[in-house]
Symmetry: C2
Subunit: 358 residues, 2 copies
């Protein structure tokens, strides 16, 4: 811990709602709705059920609040312990995928107001993603425009298992609002409502769920590129959070190969698919696909880039605190990186992307 190092930025921290956290932030109409009807939007328990809220067993604060729910304990266990310069909160809740659209919007707004009061105003090292009812993009855009006024919000937060692929036109109002407010769009592990997890149905095990989630990220990357979202919104930046990135090189190769022969199907694209990926899409590290030989990871970074040492300029370190599969900043990425590349991954890329030192 004592070795000097460049500023560390953790791009995926989860602040957790406790029972009743949102009550003060919900208008009476929706507080009553919440009490009478409540959650109807989501099936299945969070994983692993044996460790509620997917938490590390040592992450329960003495206060009795849930893991990730106690700022003081988060400071001690994460921000201070690892000397983290900035941390990006991605609050996961069921607010953003309720079947009742206005209830979803009210819950998201409450989540965001709670984040301002309880987190952003209290801890200058923290920034947060704006929770939005993303299946109702017009309502999501309204919330982005409202919440973005607070400088602590540095991205729009979606979950990766949407009802339709994210490139489709129904989601464009979200990108329009993000760009209008100068915010990247973060797409985090999780979600799901309409579709089985894979194109071949429901897997049996959690280990399969956790692994197959990377497929949903592949879907979204391809859809955003192929639908021409980055042609329509040339300043849009997208962050894929907790989906890995080892699959990115071969996916770019496959896409470019198909595009070379199928470009008449997608005449709205003016560039090779991989160019949009390289310019517009960032990837957080956790759960990093750590190979048996650390040097193999360097080949992945090399294959990510288009030359000129660009293979690491879209990689953002993240811990996923307080979840069970936390990547420790002192142990993650065993490969021998050049010091500049390590500094970019562990902080520099995030500082630039989110404008953190501004």
């Amino acid at each position: 811990m004592s070795r000097p190092r460049p500023p560390l930025v953790d791009c995926d921290i989860h602040n957790e709602l406790a029972p009743g956290s949102l009550r003060p932030y919900l208008p009476r109409r929706w507080r009553e709705y919440d009490e009478t009807y409540g959650n109807r939007g989501d099936g299945g328990s969070s994983y692993p059920k044996g460790a509620p809220r997917a938490a590390r067993t040592d992450a329960w604060p003495p206060s009795g609040l849930p893991p990730g729910g106690d700022l003081e304990f988060m400071r001690e266990q994460l921000l201070d312990a690892y000397d983290i310069r900035y941390g990006i909160l991605n609050c996961l809740s069921k607010a953003n995928r309720q079947q009742n659209p206005e209830y979803a919007a009210a819950l998201c707004r409450a989540v965001n107001e709670w984040q301002v009061e309880e987190w952003l105003e209290k801890e200058p090292r923290l920034r947060a993603g704006i929770s939005v009812p993303y299946e109702e993009p017009a309502l999501a855009a309204e919330e982005i425009d409202r919440a973005a006024a607070h400088p602590g919000f540095v991205q729009v937060l979606l979950l990766v298992r949407t009802d339709e692929p994210l490139g489709r036109r129904r989601y464009w109002p979200i990108y329009e609002a993000a760009v209008r407010n100068g915010l990247p769009v973060g797409v985090h592990f999780g979600g799901g409502r309409a579709n089985p997890l894979t194109g071949s149905g429901w897997p049996s095990f959690y280990i399969e769920d956790h692994t197959a989630m990377a497929q949903a990220f592949q879907t979204q990357l391809v859809s955003l590129v192929v639908e021409g979202v980055f042609e329509r919104f040339p300043t849009l930046k997208v962050v894929l959070i907790e989906g890995g990135f080892g699959w990115v090189p071969s996916l770019m190769w496959r896409l470019d190969k198909h595009w070379a022969r199928l470009r008449d199907e997608v005449p709205h694209l003016s560039r090779r698919p991989s160019e949009y990926v390289r310019d517009h899409i960032w990837f957080t590290t956790q759960p990093i696909e750590e190979p048996p030989d650390p040097r193999q990871l360097l080949t992945v970074f090399d294959n990510m880039g288009g030359g000129d040492d660009k293979g690491t300029d879209k990689i953002l370190f993240s811990t996923d605190y307080p979840h069970w599969d936390f990547d420790d900043p002192d142990r993650a990425i065993r490969a021998k990186l050049e010091p500049e590349a390590r500094a970019r991954i562990f902080g520099g890329n995030a500082m630039a992307l989110y404008g953190l030192d501004r």
Copy 2:
């Protein structure tokens, strides 16, 4: 074309049914059903519709038969032209996923009898996969036991978009029958009946379908490994056909990483997930994810292996003849491979796997 080279084996050729091809092979009961009710099992057209049956525009035989439907023309355009020692036929039809199980079984049997009469008995360089009604595994096992008596059948043929992930118990009778008959199980691009193509819904474009199909292969690899299929059937060999392989290394890393922490969920696994992949799963090349710098492909092969030059021993060359995205044996794999590795990929691995020179 004149340079000397080791034996070439094409591991993915499509022989195509013409209208009426199956009539002589269907019992009267099912011939009548076919005429009255016909196909009810599949939605959507094959891709791309503008080139019917996904064919190369130069692949239509002068005989008027469909592309891939004329053995003489296939000899001329593929087997002789490229001096192919052996070719594996994977006949794609809607036989294997009809909603009426016995109709599906009758169609599959007819497809297999047609393959024997019209292809295997006429051309000694060809081998074929057994078409089976794979969503009804008991019927599929019966057909495997029946058809495997002909030495021209060298694998069981499934399609990758099954109703459930292939590791689930419902499919085990297929593996039992394959192992009993000493046959690998080939899983080919395509299929689909129950589920949207991705966990985030239906994509808009064919280029997305074609790219997302690789996700279904990821699902099946994970499911077969994690459900313990290779523990239960230690001699089972699986060939993933037309799904690429650039995604395999990072998927093995991710799986191994999760397994190290989650192995209590899958106590039936006695080894690391990547070890099952390395020992039991083969991959055909087409559509090979050709990187901009050919040397990048070598890093993929390196990352596939567990050391000891094993990174290419499960790779099987394939053309996908006569489909539009045919990989030309004289041009595919631009990387500078060691001669032994090239010989393995282009023929040796397939000769050993399918016992072709026996």
